[in-house]
Symmetry: C2
Subunit: 445 residues, 2 copies
């Protein structure tokens, strides 16, 4: 059965009060698939069924934020509090942060004290930091435990911890002393001491670190989970590999959108409203309209040359676009290399030399193509003007395209803001000026 | 000590034959960090040291392919064979695939039979499929085992398996029957039977599936590893979460480059030669030069209008760019949504309606901005021409931008090929035509 068919079956079963049949239908499915199916039902049907599912907290965590919010307040207060209590701590905090003050006030008293404190603590971290991403559901051990004691402790922690495959060894002040993997534990003999077998050089991130760097660390070291410590070295949470993968994907989407001149969209593109889409796009478009006026100024300045040689207009879009296209290529390569960390600020100068060489070769190739057409459409002089302009325009375009991301980065902006539309506009303005300047030197007025 | 300082220390130690000191210096570092440090040394120094490291196969796996190749043939045949034998099976196969026939012939006989067969089997799968990505170092169990027997079996498999956190239950024909996590195992009582506690609905991928889909499955289900089966349902390998993360990142880079009009770069951007960079970029640039000639044809067609109203040229780059910019935004949003799987082919029509609304609003906003300038630079008529053109150009641009990725997808091309430069050129040509057509209707000839 596909998801739609299952949803129909469930609707039918719920309407006939056959909840056992409904629950049975879902028992072999993964939580995320169950969540997808619940999304197809009405909210009140969904929660009736959800209440009866064994891993309802996990399923609930996989629902869209809007869906969660809608459903949350159909639950009686006590069941909601129970559900929220069972949720992974990072998901629970995300939900809490979306509630308004009244809803928070209604929910908090119904939660256990430990959960309330956990929510307060986790929700205090700034968005897009390790702290906002981490979960407090991790397993800890003490250095003086034996392996047998550690395994017993992990058995107790297993139902609540997001992972027990890595357990973190802490002292009385919760200072992170080491990490031990479950693999190591089951290979060790029961009487060995944790302090002797743990790894003491632990890869960890600070709680205030950017989530993108956290994801990079997890990717670099192929970790299942990364421990997060505060400024005193105390363990405050872990970030798991699946959350890191989501962050990496979201950040890639973000950069991708920026490269097309769209401000960050938060949430699903498919469900974004017209109003939000308009708002996310209008700034750059209007900004670039005014940017493009600079090209106009260039044209106005050389109006006489144009009037005397209208053939120049024929090649105008082509020439200025070529600079923009070459520049977009350079910017794209650079923005992604900066984002993946493959290239850093100090590489700029070295890369500039290579870029100039590549640009020269590209410019010459394109000049060869265009000068032939220029010769037939105009004359030898026009052909020369076009060839010279093309090489210059492409070289300038590439230098702008590869340098702008660095410059933006230098001044604390996201290098991904060096979008194709921005580069195109900047290259257009310089392209117009170069082209018409060269033309004014070689052609009759 | 940072990596450079460590490398200097090592150089010194190796020159003085103090290998113990050198090895000791590296003992607390992660394999990938050791690999980074070895890269800073000469190849022959590197391998002298590498030979003496306890987890040399892992460190070697983290080296760049070129570095691996260079170093591989400094090793005496027997040590190389030993090292290759110790490598994870997926990395080993990647190395093997890079060797030429002579090198393969030299290496194969020195390997154990099982390793030879493993290499032959894995290297037969097409690039960018699950088969090319997977490793054969996984842990298997039998359904009739008890938990105690299973744990004993996993202890034996642990040194070779990439993960023992998920163990795969197979029958005599290696058909995948279920999966059991180490978490489940240590929570179960020793006498329980694996067949009773395993999960039977296993998320698995076919060995010929695209690696991008494999990565998406791992991300969707938050898996540590995904079992890979052949057409008969027999288990042939696993793909681990860290490899999935690398694939997702590489595919994002690829799409990002395509969006900027750069063909896929394989390997490191920083180390790419001028020749390769030129080759990856020249096709689109030259192709677009000819594409842009269409704009020129539009201009030639309306030469009289332009000659009579030179002010039109002033606004030409601005208008045509605006269409291209809006179109690039649309294409970017659509390409990424198709890549993440958020949007599928059948959504096109629904999204088109929303896009048209957004485009209309954007067009009106931009028309308002430009018509004011048009009035001061020209007259009321010019202002009207500009406003009408802007709305049309932006709407056409958006429709092209959002439809082109779908059309490319439909015809089997990568939707990411709807790059900003391509969209810009297509929108330019239509923009020029629309602008000058409208102008020819309203302005004097």
């Amino acid at each position: 059965m596909d998801h739609k068919a299952t949803a129909l079956f469930l609707e039918n079963a719920i309407e006939n009060q056959q909840f056992d049949q409904a629950v049975d239908q879902l028992k072999d499915l993964r939580p995320i698939d169950i969540a997808d199916i619940l999304t197809l039902l009405d909210s009140d049907m969904s929660w009736k069924l959800l209440e009866k599912l064994p891993d309802r907290a996990t399923v609930f965590s996989y629902l869209d934020p809007e869906e969660q919010m809608e459903m949350a307040f159909l639950f009686p207060r006590a069941s909601l509090a129970k559900l929220v209590g069972e949720m992974p701590s990072d998901e629970r905090t995300d939900l809490y942060k979306r509630l308004d003050q009244d809803q928070r006030d209604a929910l908090l008293p119904a939660l256990a004290q430990a959960e309330r404190e956990d929510i307060r603590r986790l929700s205090a971290y700034a968005e897009k930091t390790a702290g906002a991403l981490m979960t407090s559901d991790y397993a800890t051990l003490k250095a003086q435990m034996t392996v047998a004691q550690a395994l017993a402790a992990l058995r107790l922690e297993a139902p609540d911890a997001e992972t027990i495959y890595h357990a973190y060894v802490i002292d009385e002040q919760r200072k992170l002393q080491g990490v031990v993997s479950l693999r190591t534990l089951i290979l060790a003999s029961p009487n060995q001491i944790i302090g002797d077998i743990m790894l003491t050089k632990v890869v960890a991130s600070n709680v205030h670190e950017d989530q993108e760097d956290v994801a990079k660390t997890i990717a670099r070291y192929d970790l299942i989970a990364l421990p997060i410590i505060d400024n005193n070295g105390a363990l405050v949470g872990i970030v798991t590999h699946d959350d890191a993968m989501d962050v990496a994907s979201d950040e890639a989407t973000d950069d991708f959108h920026k490269s097309g001149g769209v401000s960050s969209l938060i949430g699903s593109f498919k469900d974004t409203s017209i109003r939000i889409l308009y708002r996310k796009r209008v700034f750059w478009l209007v900004f670039l309209v005014f940017g493009n006026l600079i090209s106009g100024v260039g044209i106005a300045h050389f109006e006489d040359v144009i009037a005397a040689n209208l053939v120049l207009v024929f090649f105008l879009p082509l020439l200025v676009d070529s600079g923009g296209n070459a520049g977009s290529q350079s910017a794209t390569l650079m923005v992604r290399a900066l984002a993946t960390g493959e290239v850093v600020m100090r590489d700029w100068f070295t890369l500039l030399g290579r870029e100039a060489m590549v640009a020269l070769l590209l410019g010459i190739t394109m000049a060869a193509a265009i000068s032939v057409i220029g010769y037939f459409r105009g004359d030898a002089m026009v052909s020369l003007v076009l060839a010279l302009s093309m090489v210059s325009v492409v070289m300038i375009g590439c230098v702008i395209g590869m340098s702008l991301p660095f410059i933006l980065n230098k001044f604390g902006f996201d290098p991904a803001s060096a979008s194709a539309p921005l580069i195109t506009s900047v290259c257009d303005a310089s392209g117009v000026a170069i082209y018409l300047f060269i033309a004014s030197k070689f052609l009759v007025l």
